[in-house]
């Protein structure tokens, strides 16, 4: 009885599994479809698209749209391509991610290992940064940036993203350090390590998994941000997302769909790259945090 029932369990298992894989493959194809459309159309000359062949492979393969999107397309008034805006984004996202991650780690360290009165309340208040809708802070933020003389600059955008990112990075590191043995900190104190030496020499070297999670999260959010970029950095200082919008929305001349597709892929590439390089650590880091916590 028992034997035959396990037998059928295996057989039904096989059938269900085939079904599951079938469904999964269908979903994967469905999700990959936009990427396929974007790729094939970015490699076609424009007439092939306007002629109605959206789904078909290019008859003439060309990288002309990519080159145009990158360096010569009309964005706003100048025919600069997306290139300068790509560097705008890079010079915004790298410092913003680095600063918000390091500050988040420091916050987590203080909130777990140097407890003080009202520290939980303070942490609770910091978490607001994770949930406050962007729109609410637009006007006060503009006022602050103006006051600091950072309006319209990349430095101003970095500040905005650091402030907004701190909530999440603090949350990640606080939860990670909460289960980090306090005895290690005490041993280091007896050994004579200072506040920052304990942080750099003991805690940070053990923070790899959560740092990866934090960096991926911040990078994706900051790179993909449109609202802050459009609000606080106009014209030549605009980040990639805003420039892409300007490229696609430009009202003059014919719509060069192939160039638009190439530009959109260019804008998405860095986040894709970060996921491909660090993605497996992402899941591992999330798991480490959750299992220990």
């Amino acid at each position: 009885m028992a034997v035959s029932s396990t037998d059928t369990a295996i057989r039904t298992g096989r059938v269900t599994r085939t079904l599951i894989y079938l469904v999964l493959v269908l979903f994967a194809l469905f999700y990959l479809l936009p990427l396929y459309v974007m790729m094939v159309n970015s490699l076609k000359p424009l007439p092939e698209i306007t002629g109605g062949g959206m789904m078909s492979l290019p008859q003439i393969w060309t990288i002309e749209p990519w080159l145009k999107a990158w360096s010569t397309a009309q964005i706003g008034v100048e025919p600069t391509g997306l290139r300068p805006y790509f560097w705008n984004s890079i010079s915004m996202v790298v410092p913003a991610v680095a600063i918000s991650t390091i500050l988040g780690a420091l916050n987590g360290y203080v909130l777990t290992k140097w407890r003080f009165r009202f520290d939980t309340i303070l942490f609770g208040l910091m978490l607001f940064a994770c949930f406050i809708p962007f729109q609410i802070v637009l006007i006060p933020m503009a006022a602050v940036l103006g006051f600091l003389g950072l309006a319209g600059s990349t430095a101003g955008l970095v500040l905005v993203h650091v402030v907004y990112g701190l909530g999440f990075s603090t949350l990640y590191f606080r939860n990670y350090y909460a289960v980090f043995p306090t005895e290690l900190v005490r041993a280091a104190q007896i050994d004579g390590a200072s506040f920052f030496q304990i942080f750099w020499r003991i805690l940070l070297p053990s923070s790899g998994p959560i740092a990866v999670v934090c960096v991926i999260w911040q990078f994706t959010n900051i790179w993909n941000d449109f609202l802050f970029g459009a609000s606080f950095a106009s014209g030549e200082g605009a980040p990639m997302t805003v420039a892409l919008n300007n490229l696609v929305q430009s009202s003059t001349g014919v719509k060069e769909y192939n160039v638009h597709f190439a530009g959109a892929i260019l804008a998405a590439l860095p986040t894709l790259l970060v996921y491909i390089v660090a993605g497996r650590y992402f899941v591992r880091g999330l798991m480490a945090g959750s299992v220990k916590g």
Partner: protein, 371 residues
């Protein structure tokens, strides 16, 4: 003035006082063990000596220098933690020398000190490994190495053996004792294990509920416990406590109780004090250690005051080297420790020899010792 003075130290968390006026003076080279049940404040006191917890009132001095408010790294102490607290990202060698590095000791000196300590503890082959690649016993050694390399005035140990398995614990216990004998260091050692306390210490502070119940040598603690708590906490199996009445007859004083058939037993005290006599006619608690309740052949031959009582054995537990025998005296279940081949069996009557030289007496109300 001692080497380490704990002078009326108290500790409060908010309005809760968890340590009450602790007063201990430790001499140079002493091995002081703080022992007591979990939550009695041992770790708190140790952390106060280390400077990891501040002192609410009172004073702690090392070599006559007041330590209140001095940073842990400036007290010249070293600490071994229960979890070993080895830095997971550093090799064994880096773990050992981290403290020296933080104190600005140059690299050649650090390497020399590390080599010496590694040799002493026989961990030379482990120096390149990470703590994650070590067994429990090896981690324990590295943690001790990290403490030794600093050459501190006082070593602090917080339950260093409680994460080891039973066999290794006994081995490491011996090793710590050897280390203390060879190096003559001053040690304060926290444990909840009374056997560790007895075997390692030169003096013991028995703690309960934030109070030091008794401070004394292992022999004093064992033979003349200050109160019922110390008497029952120290010793395994624990001391037998028998209800008895004090009867004075001329110069002699007796403890009157009854055997398991209700028959009268009169046990004559050895060297009864005036204090005990003043309890004439009153109920007291008589304390007899298991080894003082034994078979006639096994009784201490040098004792002049051995009383014999015929009683029924309820349970025997042969333990190889001894046989533990349970019987009922004065209504209390008592454990006696007999020779391994004593002729006893459960349900049979046998003659117990009670060594009254070792008997102690407590006031049942105050729980303090009378004799």
């Amino acid at each position: 003035m001692g080497f380490l003075d704990i002078d009326n130290a108290t500790k409060s968390y908010g309005s809760v006082e968890v340590l009450h006026k602790v007063d201990i003076s430790v001499q140079e080279g002493e091995f002081l063990v703080l022992v007591g049940p979990s939550g009695c404040g041992k770790s708190t006191l140790l952390n106060m000596i280390a400077g990891l917890e501040d002192i609410t009132s009172g004073e702690i001095r090392i070599k006559d220098a007041v330590m209140n408010g001095v940073h842990p790294s400036n007290r010249n102490i070293a600490m071994v933690f229960q979890s070993y607290a080895l830095y997971p990202n550093m090799t064994v060698g880096q773990n050992i020398t981290f403290g020296l590095e933080m104190h600005g000791v140059p690299k050649p000196e650090r390497d020399k000190a590390m080599a010496d300590v590694a040799k002493l503890l026989q961990i030379e082959l482990l120096l390149e490994r990470k703590p994650g690649q070590l067994s429990g016993g090896q981690r324990q050694r590295v943690a001790m190495g990290r403490a030794l390399v600093r050459n501190p005035d006082v070593f602090l140990f917080d339950e260093p053996l409680s994460n080891l398995d039973a066999k290794l614990r006994v081995d490491m216990r011996t090793e710590i004792k050897k280390l203390h004998q060879n190096l003559g260091t001053t040690i304060v050692y926290v444990t909840h294990d009374q056997i560790e306390a007895m075997t390692l210490s030169t003096r013991i502070a028995v703690m309960n509920g934030g109070y030091v119940q008794q401070l004394g040598t292992p022999k004093e603690i064992y033979d003349t416990p200050a109160n019922l708590f110390v008497a029952t906490f120290m010793g395994s199996p624990s001391m037998n406590l028998i209800d008895a009445n004090v009867r004075v007859d001329g110069n002699a004083v007796y403890a009157d109780t009854h055997d398991d058939k209700g028959g009268e037993i009169s046990l004559a005290f050895f060297e009864p004090s005036a204090g005990l006599k003043s309890y004439e006619g009153q109920a007291v608690t008589l304390g007899i250690r298991p080894e003082s309740l034994t078979d006639v052949e096994g009784a201490d031959q040098r004792s002049t005051h051995v009383e014999q009582v015929k009683n029924t054995v309820t349970v025997t537990e042969p333990a190889g080297s001894d046989t533990f025998v349970t019987t009922t005296i004065g209504g209390a279940e008592c454990v006696g420790r007999m020779r391994a081949d004593a002729d006893v069996a459960a349900g049979r009557e046998t003659t117990f020899a009670i060594n009254m030289e070792k008997a102690v007496v407590f006031d049942p109300k105050t729980e303090a010792r009378i004799l």
